[in-house]
Amino acid sequence: MSNREFTSAAGLSPPLPGQRAVPMPSVLSSATGLAGGFFEWFGNLGIFSWQVARAAVTPPFEWRELIRQMDDVGSKSLPLVALAGAAIGAVLSMEARSSLTRFGAKAMLPSAIIYSVVLEMGPIITGLVVSGRVGAGIGAELASMKVTEQIDAIEASAINPYRLLAATRILACILMLPLLTLAADACGVLMGWLTQTLAEPQSLRQFIDSGFRGATFNDLLPPTFKTAVFGLIIGLIACFQGMRTRGGAEGVGRAATNSVVLASLLVILADVVLVKFILVVFP
């Protein structure tokens, strides 16, 4: 076999006349590259998580920055989360009313609204809204700091950036997500009642009593506190994507987009796993 024939067969040069191109090596190499990239990303995320966890539990603690981040994640997300919760409550009330009336189960309307909002819609909507607002914000902020060497400057000033920048933001997300979920739930239930009472007057107390009849803390607390896991995912992914950015303004944009996309995707996947976990542990 000549050199030309050999390199052609190996896919290193164009096929010889009359010879069919063999696409397998390039498909195989791109698949290998993709798998390699996937494992490398997870490996780097694991190392990053370990560095953040170690920085978070060793003094000095960055209390002031933590409070600033809690304000940024919590109070600044509240209007959007409350609005999203209220919209979900109103839509659920309108949709469920027509369906339940058709099946002669109109009396179940308060329970249907409250359970839907508290068990699933409130937590997942909060998770997705915060993924969008906070995930993009953290991703872009840290990415911008990274490309302008501000994170290097923090490190050069003998300050651990994993503690100051990442641990505080992740912890703020973990702590604020359940509180934001409570706000979304409250707005959803309130708006659900308002929509219901506009169609058929009913007092709020009656609506709540009827909706929560038979409910226990096991029904209500796990779905709310599962959002702490959503907070962990959002904070971790956004900080990771931001702090590993390269390449100027384009890199900043990519970090912000990737933060939102990956955090939203992982929140949805985590929700499936956590719902199953809650059903098993709190039957």
């Binding site: 501000q150 490190e155 050069a156 003998a158 300050i159 994993y162």
Partner: protein, 262 residues
């Protein structure tokens, strides 16, 4: 030519009597993917001494500074700060070493969400928790006065010029009273007057604080003004190290060409 570091290494002086050089790098290698940036660099700087590292763009001068302060890890070789090996050191332990070092970034790298005064106060707030707010404020004012920026305390970094940003960056680098000062292109992109002012400022600070300084630059005039020794880098290696006069007397073709072009 035997460098000061070679002599110190041979005699082992600094290891035994505790007079280790402030900074000593030995046989440092660093590559990015297949591109070799540093190929066995050895240098040292003692207290009160200023070394200027010269070379063409992309010869790894800034990478050398980043390796010295631990922002990059070398592929092989040793970096010692006051005799202490920092390669492979944990981040928190490295923090203790970095408190003794000040770093001026090429583009100043000021925190863009903080004012000029807050930028300078940043490391004081984290490392000098014993300082009261007023003491901290006084120290910030003093540092900014030293670099001629006392009138711009409340300005944002985006509101001041590149030269002013470098001055603030210098004040920030001096906040913790470092024993070692690393300056990455302190005069790059500045007009001749601002460059001269920065040079004078660096000289004044060296005289007053007796720091060991490494200045990375491709500005030969600035290097000649502020440095005791000069090291010329090419293709990842130190081609020559010595005084400006020694560089002028060198018969190495690259050295002569560099001096002529500069």
């Amino acid at each position: 030519m035997a460098t000061a570091y070679d002599i110190a290494m041979k005699t082992g002086d600094f290891e035994e009597d505790g007079s280790a050089p402030a900074v000593a790098v030995e046989n440092l290698h660093k590559s990015f993917e297949s591109r070799v940036v540093l190929d066995g660099i050895s240098l040292s700087v003692s207290r009160g001494e200023t070394l200027a590292v010269l070379g063409r763009s992309g010869t790894g001068k800034s990478v050398l500074l980043r390796l010295i302060i631990g922002l990059e890890k070398p592929d092989s070789g040793s970096v010692r700060i006051h005799g202490q090996e920092i390669v492979g050191m944990a981040l928190d332990r490295m923090g203790e070493i970095r408190k003794k070092m000040g770093f001026l970034f090429q583009h100043a790298a000021l925190y863009d969400s903080l004012t000029v005064a807050e930028n300078v106060a940043f490391s004081l707030e984290h490392h000098r928790r014993d300082m009261s707010k007023s003491e901290r404020g006084d120290r910030v004012k003093h540092l900014l006065a030293e670099v001629g920026m006392e009138g711009d305390l409340d300005k944002m970094p985006s509101d001041i010029s590149g030269g002013m940003q470098k001055r603030v960056g210098l004040a920030r680098a001096l906040a913790l009273e470092p024993e070692i000062l690393l300056l990455d292109e302190p005069t790059a992109g500045l007009d001749p007057i601002s460059s001269g002012e920065i040079d004078d400022l660096v000289l004044k600070l060296q005289r007053e604080h007796q720091m060991a300084s490494i200045v990375v630059t491709h500005d030969l005039h600035s290097a000649k003004t502020i440095a005791d020794r000069l090291a010329l880098l090419n293709e990842g290696k130190v081609i020559i190290e010595g005084s400006f006069a020694e560089l002028q007397q060198s018969d190495i073709e690259f050295v002569q060409e560099f001096l002529k072009q500069s």
